[in-house]
């Protein structure tokens, strides 16, 4: 993280969040992460809908792309994928 560490006199009161969760690479926690077989993907977007970390990026037309920086590897996308296009691969 490039943000300098602030002291207690510099922090906003009440411990309100001041660093976006986008800057928090929870992908480091993953043991398994999704790999998509593009030939099987029907672009239904269910992986994008179900992802609890909103890690998938999808433009509504092409194959959804998981952001591996934020994917914790829960495997919900692979379980929900109707064509079994997603495989969880050990990182």
């Amino acid at each position: 993280m490039s943000t300098p560490m602030l002291g207690w006199k510099e922090l906003p009161m009440g411990a309100v969040a001041f660093i976006s969760s986008k800057e928090y690479p929870t992908g480091e926690w993953a043991v398994f992460q999704p790999k998509i077989d593009e030939s099987k993907c029907i672009k239904c977007g269910l992986c994008w809908i179900y992802c609890p970390d909103s890690a998938y990026r999808w433009d509504g037309e092409n194959v959804p792309v998981p952001s591996l920086e934020h994917c914790k590897g829960c495997g919900i996308c692979a379980a929900e994928c109707p064509t079994k296009a997603i495989e969880m691969v050990r990182v």
């Binding site: 943000t3 560490m5 602030l6 922090l11 009161m13 009440g14 411990a15 001041f18 976006s20 800057e23």
Partner: protein, 412 residues
């Protein structure tokens, strides 16, 4: 009747609970979420009557528990409302988790706690175990001696809370104050309403990776901020120190609000943090909290007639603990007796005693200190027992080795 100097005040026959309800009625409160529990029930009943009768513009949220009551008030306050709740004993215990969440997110709630003994065994009468247990939860604590002070403290609490952005507990003794009818001088509605004003939302600066942004300190979809996010070993410690320092900054705010309140009501309770009684030439004093101290003052008068140099100090603000002020105030006495209406199981004395003794450790004259634990579960403390305690502490210097923690009024 009316006190002309301070405008028209109506003397009403109110018990302590009703006095608190009247203070809430007049203080422009937007939301009350509360769950009834003896001896706080009358507060909730009166407020719900005011709402039902259309006497106040207030949302009354009926909740299923105290945990929910405080949670609802927390949410309302984060959304910008002025919120109030009230509880006692086990109800306060059920709020525990939210007590810390409220204070740590700097939400200026006001809560009346009608002091009552904690279960088990079940007991509905007065002692201070409930609020003393909450002493580390980051709430300012004001202890009231009578119904008038419960009314005054409740009004002042809104201002103290909102100026310090910390929650305030106003306490009153269960039954002794809460259910005892007293003449209470009630200010006109508009005087109180003007005194507390509308709630002002402070603005805070948030450093982000995109630069600093200024936002109102509330939940507002136009300026989204997150309260209570994950905060691990990299920042949690800093946030707790900041919270503690904010608490330590409150005494001038508490004093200022009392002074302002004195100007509209004639009741400023100076010197605010602790009220001395016949201490100027006293050798020994007894210090304690709340309604018991009115009896202690009577005993001081009796013993003074016998030529004994005794005095009393009633502490009004327990959190933040006024250690420096107490050190200054107490250093001249040879012995200080401390009344605790609470047991801290396994500790060397009650909570008030531990803190006073600790404060006096760095006083050059180091008065002797004796702790009296009394009145648990509403047990009476008759004047003769207070006199006995005074007579003991008058001799304690001459008898080294006497126990420093004693029970007053218990059978062996």
């Amino acid at each position: 009747m009316a006190v002309q100097k301070y405008g028209e005040q109506t003397v009403m026959a109110l018990n302590g609970d009703e006095a608190v309800a009247w203070a809430v009625k007049q203080s422009n409160v937007d939301v009350v979420a509360a769950y009834p529990i003896t001896p706080q029930t009358i507060i909730v009943e009166r407020i719900s009557e005011f709402v039902h009768n259309g006497e106040v513009d207030m949302e009354f949220v009926r909740v299923e528990s105290e945990h929910s009551a405080l949670s609802a008030c927390w949410g309302a306050s984060l959304a910008g409302a002025r919120a109030f709740t009230a509880t006692a004993a086990n109800g306060l215990a059920l709020m525990w988790e939210i007590l810390y969440i409220v204070s740590s997110t700097r939400v200026p709630l006001v809560m009346a706690v009608v002091n009552r003994a904690l279960s088990a065994p079940i007991n509905i009468h007065n002692d201070h175990s409930d609020t003393m247990g909450a002493r580390d939860s980051g709430w300012i604590q004001l202890y009231s001696e009578d119904a008038q002070e419960a009314y005054d403290n409740t009004i002042m609490a809104f201002k103290i809370a909102e100026e310090s952005m910390l929650p305030v507990m106003v306490t009153l003794d269960g039954f002794t104050i809460s259910h005892t009818l007293q003449n209470v001088s009630v200010l006109p509605d508009e005087v109180v309403s003007n005194f507390v004003g509308e709630r002002k939302i402070p603005r805070i600066k948030i450093p982000t990776i995109y630069g600093e942004k200024e936002v109102p300190f509330m939940l507002n979809p136009k300026y989204p901020i997150t309260f209570g996010p994950l905060d691990l070993y990299d920042y949690y410690f800093e946030h707790k120190v900041q919270q503690n320092e904010a608490m330590k900054d409150t005494p001038p705010i508490i004093e200022k609000v009392h002074k302002e309140y004195g100007e509209i009501s004639g009741r400023s309770y100076e010197p605010v943090h602790m009220i001395p009684y016949k201490t100027e030439d006293a050798d020994v004093i007894i210090i304690g909290l709340s309604s018991t101290m009115s009896v202690v003052r009577k005993v001081v008068d009796q013993l003074r007639e016998e030529g004994k140099k005794v005095g009393a100090i009633r502490l009004r603000v327990f959190r933040p603990f006024p250690a420096e002020m107490l050190r200054k105030e107490l250093s001249n006495f040879s012995t200080v007796g401390v009344l605790d209406r609470c047991i801290s199981f396994g500790a060397e004395g009650g909570p008030l005693f531990l803190e006073i003794r600790s404060a006096l450790y760095s006083s050059p004259s180091k008065p002797a200190t004796v702790n009296y634990i009394y009145g648990l579960g509403g047990r009476e403390l008759p004047p003769k027992l207070i006199a006995k305690a005074f007579n003991e502490i008058l001799e304690v210097r001459a008898e080294p080795g006497t126990p420093i923690v004693k029970y007053l009024g218990v059978r062996e």
